[in-house]
């Protein structure tokens, strides 16, 4: 936020009028919020999985793409068979995306991940292979071209809260979807029996097993949950952009940085990191080219990680 204020003061110094500055600040801030929503949506599922089993899922982006394609498929079905449903298919698509990606995640854990828990580095390789397979499968089934879902009327256009400021509705929707989803994940982790089981397994796997928690199933459900969240993220994505087989790979490194930067296993850390990185990038983009802003942000994250390798939020426990 201090960066934002500095920016505003700087612009004032450059001779922009107060009204213009307000407009730029809001729109630039909103661009940052949009990026924040994307990062957080992507990182949330990954954070749940990484925090739980210290496994990095390189195919995470593809689970997102899977959710997006589910949405596209549903929108296409509605369009061709029941145009009347087009207004309200979207919430259904979100649920469907969750279950499709979640189910595939469930199978992935059973087939691959569970054999590699003791070798986290190998999981990197195996899931990278999985992502290659998924991408090619998308290409074979849906075609290499970019596609997009038909959006219901109420998601289109923008509104003007006041003069000189344009806020797109789909952006607002993305942000709200992100906040609601985060709320649900946190609620699930901290206020339900399932969440308690997950946290118990993270803290002490043997003990959790000893008190009768099925840790194998807990792992599998957590992985499925993480993938399901990625699916919903993909669904939410279709409101702001089109989708292609390799779309998921574009954000994957950013997402890793968000999760690692936030601190393993901390949802709050992930949220903070997503916010920080997104805001830093959008502010820097105002001054530099987009790619250079990215290099700067990557560099900054790496340097901060050197100083605080445990990430922003980390709990101290006896090793």
């Amino acid at each position: 936020m201090t960066a934002k204020i500095t920016l505003i003061l700087l612009l004032a110094g450059l001779g922009y009028s107060w009204e213009e500055i307000k407009g730029i600040a809001i729109m630039q801030g909103f661009a940052g919020l949009n990026l924040f929503a994307i990062f957080l949506l992507m990182a949330l599922g990954l954070s749940v999985i990484f925090g739980q089993m210290k496994v990095i899922n390189m195919a995470h982006g593809e689970f997102m793409t899977m959710g997006a394609y589910t949405t596209v498929l549903l929108s296409w079905l509605c369009e061709t068979h029941a145009p009347g449903l087009l207004t309200w298919y979207f919430p259904v698509a979100m649920v469907a995306a969750f279950f499709v990606a979640g189910a595939v995640g469930f199978l992935t854990e059973w087939a691959i991940i569970r054999h590699l828990y003791k070798r986290p580095l190998d999981t990197l390789l195996a899931t990278w292979g999985l992502s290659m397979i998924f991408q090619e499968a998308f290409r074979q089934i849906a075609g290499a071209r970019e596609t997009s879902a038909t959006m219901p009327e109420w998601l289109m256009g923008s509104f003007q809260p006041f003069e000189g400021v344009d806020i797109p509705i789909n952006g607002v929707f993305l942000l709200s979807a992100c906040l609601v989803l985060t709320g649900l994940v946190v609620a699930n982790l901290y206020y339900t029996r399932t969440g308690l089981r997950v946290r118990a397994t993270v803290l002490n796997r043997d003990m959790a097993g000893a008190v009768g928690i099925n840790t194998t199933m807990t792992d599998r459900m957590t992985f499925a949950l993480g993938c399901g969240i990625a699916g919903v993220a993909g669904c939410a994505f279709t409101t702001v952009g089109s989708i292609s087989p390799s779309a998921g790979g574009l954000y994957i490194v950013d997402t890793f940085m968000v999760v690692v930067f936030g601190g393993a296993g901390s949802i709050v850390g992930t949220i903070l990191a997503a916010f920080g990185i997104a805001q830093a990038q959008s502010v820097l983009e105002f001054f530099l080219s987009g790619v250079l802003a990215k290099v700067f942000v990557l560099g900054a994250v790496v340097v901060i990680l050197m100083i605080r390798p445990q990430g922003l939020i980390a709990s101290k426990i006896r090793k």
Binding site: S315, K316, I317, R318
Partner: protein, 247 residues
């Protein structure tokens, strides 16, 4: 006034994990050549105390001095180089290489990255390895892969690895855990013989074993020192009986 000269001095040592004080204001002095045993119920902070001395955990407060050298903020390897070595609760050895190589890696020569590249297996190194192997009852198993040793032999091997560096202070966390009665006796002998001319801090639960080896005993409870003294006095202390021995 004459200050008694101690080897290891812990003063007001405290460590806090998110507000929970696992070790809370512990002050402890261990004399040269002394074998000190720490006992106490689970969660009393015994292992954490050893972690603090050997640098695995950094204290929130307090001071650690060994032979007039302040260890409090030193990295682990510097503490080892100052003569303080640590044995862990579960045997921690290199599983994939032979007993001989395990001992060789613990030899203080060639401790830098470049030194390790140009390290040569000279006769004095080999001789030292054989000497230590004899001490820890593993003379005939030098070529065996460490993974294949029995649990008790792994414990001995780890002690042997500590001896390679000719340390001045041994920190041993439950050295006889998981050993047979006969192995316990052998280990008691081993500890008595290797602690000549060195100090040692040992954590142990086996009271019979403690009585055999200890010079002095410190009882810890809830992060604090509850009592300290000779085993005979400790056993009669009503507070100690209450929290630990009575159970």
């Amino acid at each position: 006034m004459i200050y008694p000269h101690f080897a290891l001095e812990l003063e007001e040592l405290t460590v806090s994990f998110d507000g929970f004080k696992a070790v809370n204001g512990v002050t402890l002095y261990v004399a040269k050549d002394e074998l000190r045993v720490i006992i106490g119920p689970n969660g009393a902070g015994k292992t954490t105390l050893l972690d603090l001395i050997c640098g695995r955990t950094k204290p929130t407060d307090g001071k650690i001095t060994f032979m007039d050298k302040v260890l409090t903020r030193l990295p682990e390897q510097e503490i080892v180089r100052a003569g303080v070595v640590r044995k862990f609760q579960t045997p921690s050895i290199y599983p994939k290489i032979s007993v001989f190589e395990n001992l060789e890696l613990s030899h203080p020569k060639g401790r830098t990255a470049i030194g390790a590249i140009f390290f040569r297996r000279t006769p004095d190194v080999v001789e030292r390895i054989h000497m230590v192997a004899e001490q820890i009852f593993l003379k005939d198993l030098l070529n065996k892969e460490a993974e294949q040793l029995s649990h008790g032999q792994k414990q001995w091997l780890e002690i042997g690895m500590l001896l390679m560096a000719d340390p001045q202070l041994l920190l041993l966390d439950e050295p006889v855990a998981g050993m047979s009665v006969r192995e316990r006796e052998q280990t008691a002998e081993l500890l008595r013989s290797i602690c000549k001319g060195r100090s040692a801090v040992v954590i142990e639960h086996d009271m019979k074993f403690v009585r055999r080896i200890a010079d002095k005993v410190t009882v810890m409870h809830q992060g604090k020192v509850l009592a300290e003294g000779h085993m005979d006095d400790i056993e009669k202390d009503p507070r100690v009986v209450e929290v630990y021995l009575g159970h």
